[in-house]
């Protein structure tokens, strides 16, 4: 009899890739908790997975496996999900909780808390009701908040978060540490970007959100004064020499599955990348791709003009990626993965970062309308 696995967030960025890895690497039957929106839960799930299969270089045959082995269960983490235990067959071994809100503006604070913290509480209750062997939770490496230096793969108790998103993920992790009913693993990816070969992404927060804000800011200023930002560099008070930990989504999924299938007794794993650009190099690529000169790095914010202040306000959320040296310890991850995991193919360099960003800019051009400057 095949293994049974429950997954939340199966239409999300990491969730879809985890499902596809599970389909490829096992014969498990997957029960995916999915919100029904304009279409049924099943249609949404299958369409999203087919979209990722086609855009991320998976074998097209996997679409048949999706139809055969991915069962959608209509559910909303903001509603009651514990009662769904009766709709899921018994004998579930693994529960993957990937669903999360990636918003960060204060006006979403209640929703973020509801989905990320209360949603995790409900996921734990459902996992308990299903009597699963292990709960796998997809968190973020940035639960580290403003901590710098070596960030250990250990529980996060006292931490100064940079925003409501980060603090919600800390609280969600704490709920998991506190429960004693089942084994758990917490996976902490860093900044997840598109597929390492095709660059396809389906969620556009993180690096893509920064890039989008840069494009928007350039557009705003073009409405105020044509060509201004092309002539004048934006000033930023960031740490240009610290690494910015960008990790392709397929690496996150493959490593998470490999760790879950290992005999590791560790509980917290950093899913980060070994070869990444520095903040200065990455910013140069991002600014260049939107047609702007590289930012001028300044030592303190007193050197900001008003426009610099405004830009830096708009990207405040991303500051924890751009300031403070964080070295993500990977002892547990590396031990679980062994020596054989090929990391070279996932290296993010300035060259391929340009490709990742170019892919996204092309998507934006196709999907986003633009109002010409009124003259």
């Amino acid at each position: 009899m095949s293994e049974k696995i429950v997954i939340t967030g199966g239409t999300g960025f990491v969730g879809t890739h985890l499902i596809l890895e599970l389909l490829e690497q096992s014969d498990a039957e997957l029960f995916c908790l999915v919100r029904a929106k304009n279409t049924s839960a099943e249609q949404r799930l299958h369409q999203q997975l087919a979209h990722v299969i086609q855009g991320s270089g998976y074998a097209l045959e996997l679409i048949n496996q999706v139809k055969k082995r991915c069962h959608a269960i209509a559910a909303d983490l903001q509603g009651d999900i514990t009662s769904l235990a009766t709709s899921i067959p018994s004998g579930v071994s693994q529960f993957w909780h990937c669903a999360a809100s990636l918003n960060y503006e204060e006006r979403f604070a209640a929703e973020i808390y509801d989905i990320n913290v209360e949603g995790t509480r409900k996921a734990l209750a459902l996992a308990r009701a299903l009597n699963v062997d292990c709960l796998n939770y997809v968190s973020t490496a940035y639960v580290a908040g403003r901590n710098t230096g070596v960030i250990l793969e250990s529980t996060m108790t006292e931490v100064q978060s940079s925003n409501v998103y980060e603090s919600s993920k800390v609280k969600a992790e704490q709920l998991i540490y506190a429960q004693q009913d089942m084994k758990y693993r917490i996976f902490r990816p860093s900044i997840v970007i598109g597929h390492s070969h095709t660059y396809q992404a389906i969620n556009f927060s993180g690096m893509y959100g920064f890039l989008r804000r840069l494009i928007q800011f350039k557009g705003m200023m073009a409405r105020v004064q044509r060509g201004y930002l092309e002539r004048e560099s934006i000033r930023m008070n960031v740490d240009p020499d610290v690494p910015i930990n960008l990790v392709p989504v397929d690496k996150v999924a493959k490593q998470a599955i490999a760790i879950a299938r290992s005999d590791s007794n560790d509980t917290i794993f950093h899913l980060t990348n070994r070869t990444v650009p520095t903040v200065g190099e990455a910013l140069k690529v991002l600014f260049s791709i939107v047609g702007l000169p590289p930012p001028k790095i300044v030592q303190d914010t007193t050197q900001y003009a008003w426009i610099d202040e405004k830009f830096n306000e708009k990207i405040e959320f991303y500051k924890s990626y751009l300031t403070g040296y964080k070295q993500f310890d990977r002892s547990a991850s590396n031990a679980a993965l062994g020596e054989h995991f090929n990391t070279a193919r996932y290296a993010v360099t300035t060259n391929n970062l340009n490709e990742y960003c170019g892919w996204y800019c092309a998507q934006l051009t196709k999907t986003r309308s633009q109002v010409p400057v009124s003259r």
Partner: protein, 352 residues
């Protein structure tokens, strides 16, 4: 010589004074803020100048449109002070019904019988057949001039350098009176003006949403809006938040520079005989000579010029916005922001 004149300039360059004093000239029809409102504060400029021929009914829609941005400002009691229509009293149009563009300022500026004039214009325009927008505008302004027994019309809208390219395309024989004022004072004055605040807010929101939220219901990108801008969507607009929203003068300084540089590019294409540039400050310091110079450009053959000068000279008042009242840091930022505009003007030998 042309009897069609446009007064152009950046926002808060002092051109309102020109409309007001010209309104007393017996030969001049002073059209005030017509293109400000017909373009909904300069955000719908292409729509006000459609490329295809349109009929009278379609042109009337442009001229009498009840536009969203200018009218939400009436609803929330943050109307620009240029609005002359008494929308707060229980009249034909009010904040609830919205006030048609041409009635916001242009017609009340001309006559106390603005509602009746509005109906007369409607009848005139509705009877017109297919024509270019330029032909319709010529006909409208010409009809208004004849109606008031004037031989010249002068249209002036705040910040109209933004629309100068369209005006020159549509009115290639018109004369352009360019009013320039120290960008730092313009910026400070724009900062205190609700219309320019609205424009800069709309720039930001439009760029984030990819649509003009006052013209489209599409909110696909709303999650990208920072909290501080949510209150300026039409569905969640807050007059209090609008008043509290602070944009520093230096951003308006950048805006001023941008408008000057783009505007001068077009002015460079207009024959010298069709344009005159005057510094607002000289109207204040050398009032009689500057006004005389101006009216000679507008209405060289009018016998009424001298008497008109005598009559209006006392209405020239010094404005209150003075950039040197800012603190040192903001002065420095404002200087930097206005530097590109000053450099462009210096090439035309205009300096402060």
């Amino acid at each position: 010589m042309s009897n069609e004149i446009f007064v152009v300039g950046t926002g808060r360059c002092g051109s309102t004074l020109i409309s007001n004093i010209l309104n007393h000239h017996p030969d001049v029809l002073s059209l005030s803020e017509f293109f400000t409102f017909v373009t909904d504060l300069g955000t719908l400029i292409p729509q006000a100048f459609p490329a295809m021929e349109i009929d009278g009914a379609q042109f009337w829609q442009i001229v009498s449109g009840v536009y969203a941005k200018q009218n939400i400002m009436l609803v929330h009691d943050i109307a620009m002070k240029e609005v002359l229509y008494p929308f707060k009293t229980d009249v034909r149009f009010n904040a609830s019904t919205g006030v048609p563009a041409i009635l916001q300022t242009t017609l009340p500026h001309l006559t106390p019988e603005y509602d009746a004039l509005f109906d007369q214009i409607h009848a005139v325009i509705a009877a017109r057949g297919m024509a270019t927008a330029a032909a319709h505008y010529h006909a409208l302004f010409g009809w208004l001039a004849a109606h008031f027994g004037k031989s010249i019309w002068v249209e002036r809208s705040g910040g109209s350098l933004r629309v100068i390219e369209r005006l020159y395309q549509q009115f290639p024989n018109a004369k352009f009176l360019h009013i320039v004022r120290d960008g730092r004072d313009c910026a400070l004055s724009m900062q205190r003006h609700n219309g320019f605040k609205m424009v800069l807010l709309i720039f930001q929101i439009t760029e984030i949403l990819g649509i003009d939220p006052y013209e489209s219901d599409d909110r696909s990108w709303q999650d990208d809006l920072p909290d501080e801008l949510i209150s300026f969507l039409p569905e969640s607009f807050s007059g209090n938040d609008f008043l509290a929203y602070n944009v520093p003068p230096s951003l308006y300084g950048h805006y001023w520079s941008g408008e000057i540089m783009a505007g001068l590019e077009i002015l460079d294409k207009i024959p010298a005989a069709q344009q005159l540039t005057l510094q607002y400050e000289s109207i204040l310091t050398d009032t009689r000579n500057t006004i005389k110079h101006m009216i000679q450009f507008i209405s060289p053959d009018s016998s009424a010029n001298a008497a008109w000068c005598d009559a209006v000279i006392s209405s020239v008042k010094r404005p209150t916005a003075v950039w040197k009242t800012l603190d040192t840091r903001e002065q420095s930022r404002l200087n930097d922001a206005c530097a590109p505009g000053f450099a462009a003007l210096t090439k035309r030998r205009i300096q402060w």
